[in-house]
């Protein structure tokens, strides 16, 4: 298939249009502004609706209204803007509404930097808004994956009636790469007979709501949601293992750092050091069992977690999965600084030396 050169953010927008996105609501913020820019031009060409909202808070609530009336709705933002959307994401989950939310992550806290970051891992995987909830979180590590995952995200969202997040670091949004527009898996989806489309002869009125005043009923509602999360954990887990078959040091990383790690692994192997990569693709659900099993292999001596975060966030999930079987070391930078190949090589060697 013919390859085309696309900028990440524009490719993400085009992918959404190809996935049948009916409407996009967004607000400018670096480094994701090409998504609303592209949508403003091209979504109406396909009969879709684009609105530039007054805030990220409004954008996510426009998504709520459209999704609740049966539309395939999407918004995108970058870290500080995603923080503002958390209220709306919680309501989307509570009201069981499908939607796709793209976070083109930058460094924080506060305004932080407009350079790439991965400091929103906790927020994405633990439910950044109020209440107990989860969303499927897809993490591409190149533009091709971003394009594929955004298209699949709409189906995943519709299948579970739950928002899906696609978290890219800013580099993926800003980088141009060759991609191909191959078909992505399509799912058999249930009809949206719950949507508030106007009754149009229906014998009852549909209600979209997240309020349950009776504690017993609210408890049951949460139990029902938890059953959906369990299904997502069962069906949606994705990860990738590279060179883990004999690896003595396994690097855990996602997004751009995972790509940098691959270059380091190649160099390490050329020196005779057996390094491998364990890359979660769904950050939630986290591939806990696979990582636990890998940690139990006798050839694995240590883990090195690499993130664009000063203290590490995914490292907590790595720790929970490894369960103390092997030591875990950390390499990370925040504030837009990327871990380098040289640093990773040095950290792998150091980790290996410590366990020998």
């Amino acid at each position: 298939m013919q390859k085309e050169l696309w900028k990440g953010n524009e490719a993400i927008a085009e992918a959404a249009i190809r996935a049948g996105c009916d409407c996009f609501f967004g607000y400018p913020i670096t480094p994701q502004s090409e998504v609303p820019e592209y949508m403003s031009v091209h979504l109406p060409e396909h009969g879709g609706v684009f609105v530039q909202s007054e805030s990220e808070v409004a954008a996510i609530n426009m998504v709520y209204g459209a999704a609740a009336s049966g539309m395939r709705a999407m918004t995108s933002s970058s870290s500080p803007g995603i923080s503002l959307k958390q209220e709306g994401i919680s309501y989307l989950v509570g009201s069981e509404l499908p939607a796709v939310i793209v976070n083109c992550m930058r460094g924080g806290p506060g305004l932080g930097t407009i350079q790439p970051g991965q400091g929103d891992y906790y927020q994405a995987t633990r439910g950044g808004g109020n209440g107990d909830y989860r969303t499927v979180v897809l993490s591409p590590s190149n533009v091709q994956e971003a394009v594929d995952f955004v298209q699949e995200a709409f189906d995943i969202a519709d299948q579970y009636r739950n928002p899906v997040m696609v978290v890219c670091d800013g580099l993926i949004g800003q980088m141009m790469e060759p991609i191909e527009w191959h078909p992505v898996p399509k799912r058999d989806l249930p009809p949206k007979d719950w949507a508030t489309t106007g009754r149009k002869g229906r014998d009852h009125h549909n209600i979209i709501n997240s309020l349950y005043m009776d504690p017993e009923v609210c408890d049951q509602h949460n139990a029902n949601l938890a059953k959906k999360y369990a299904l997502m954990e069962q069906n949606e887990l994705r990860w990738e293992e590279k060179e883990c078959g004999d690896a003595e040091v396994v690097i855990t990383a996602y997004g751009t750092p995972a790509r940098i790690a691959l270059t380091a692994i190649e160099a390490l192997r050329a020196e005779g050091i057996k390094a491998g990569l364990f890359r979660p693709i769904t950050l939630w659900p986290f591939p806990e069992k696979a990582l636990h099993e890998l940690a139990g292999k006798t050839h694995v001596k240590a883990f090195l977690d690499v993130e664009m975060s000063s203290m590490g966030q995914m490292i907590d999930d790595v720790r929970l999965a490894v369960e103390g079987q092997k030591p875990i070391r950390f390499l990370g930078h925040a504030g837009g600084v990327m871990p380098t190949v040289e640093e990773i090589i040095e950290s792998v060697k150091k980790a290996l030396k410590e366990v020998q």
């Binding site: 209220e87 709306g88 009125h205």
Partner: protein, 249 residues
């Protein structure tokens, strides 16, 4: 026996939870009757707020959505833009619309979103127990201004109909009340007119309904009605604040 009065088909059989003397029930009835009389009930999608009317989704018989606090105009934007031929309305209180949702209502009006907002202004936060609202009158007591609202502490109350009418996208803004039959009839006409203008795709339409809160005002329903007419209507003048079609003529 001939039927002389019937509950509107725009309302469900659910029992209203509102306090005695509260005006929400009357206002619900007027909105429901308007939708039925204009033939819009089967098409309509409503959005309710956070506040006393949070359960309005149980009372209106059309499709309904419950929004986060203050966000109803953004939610309605998402609905109306993707369902441009259908009737869409938000039903919001003064804490929801004039305080936490001020940005959403101003920008929906600025964009000229073609939905109708029913704004119930009772000058207090009812659901949470009588705290000061941006619409609380100077000197009026609330649980967060127990000696009465002062200008020094909280500024002057906000007049939303006048504020929104400065925006070109807002084509119709009227303030009404439902304290007596004559005013109820006027309110009904205003609500119907707003929906008609919405369906003509003229722009954003806004009906502010002054309302009582006997429970949190600490008054009997009758005294609350009198207080509304004497004090609220003095600061929030009743009548058409803006009608773009009238300006054109």
């Amino acid at each position: 026996m001939a039927i002389v009065y019937e509950k509107s088909k725009g309302l469900t059989d659910a029992e209203l939870h509102y306090c005695p003397g509260c005006h929400h029930g009357i206002i619900h009835k007027l909105v429901a009757e308007s939708l039925v009389e204009l033939g819009l009930l089967d098409e309509a999608i409503g959005v309710c707020p956070v506040g006393c009317s949070v359960f309005a989704f149980n009372y209106f018989s059309c499709d309904m959505q419950e929004a986060a606090h203050g966000r109803a105009p953004a939610v309605a934007t998402g609905i109306k833009r993707t369902h441009p031929t259908q009737a869409v309305f938000t039903y919001q209180g003064d804490g929801d619309l004039a305080s936490i949702g001020a940005a959403e209502i101003v920008h929906a009006a600025m964009r000229g979103e073609k939905f109708t907002t029913i704004f119930v202004n009772n000058a207090i936060y009812g659901m949470t127990g009588g705290q000061m609202a941006p619409t609380t009158l100077i000197g009026q007591r609330a649980t967060t201004c127990q000696s009465g609202r002062t200008v020094e502490q909280a500024g002057m109350p906000i007049r939303m109909a006048e504020l929104l009418s400065t925006l070109d996208g807002c084509v119709y803004a009227e303030r009404v009340c439902v304290t007596d039959i004559a005013n109820i009839n006027k309110a009904k006409r205003a609500i119907k007119k707003a929906f008609e203008k919405q369906m003509n795709r003229e722009g954003f339409t806004f009906i502010e309904v002054l309302s009582t809160c006997p429970t949190n005002w600490g008054m009997t329903p009758l005294k609350a009605n009198a207080w509304l007419k004497e004090n609220m209507a003095a600061y929030y003048p009743l009548g058409v604040i803006k009608d773009s079609s009238a300006e054109v003529k």
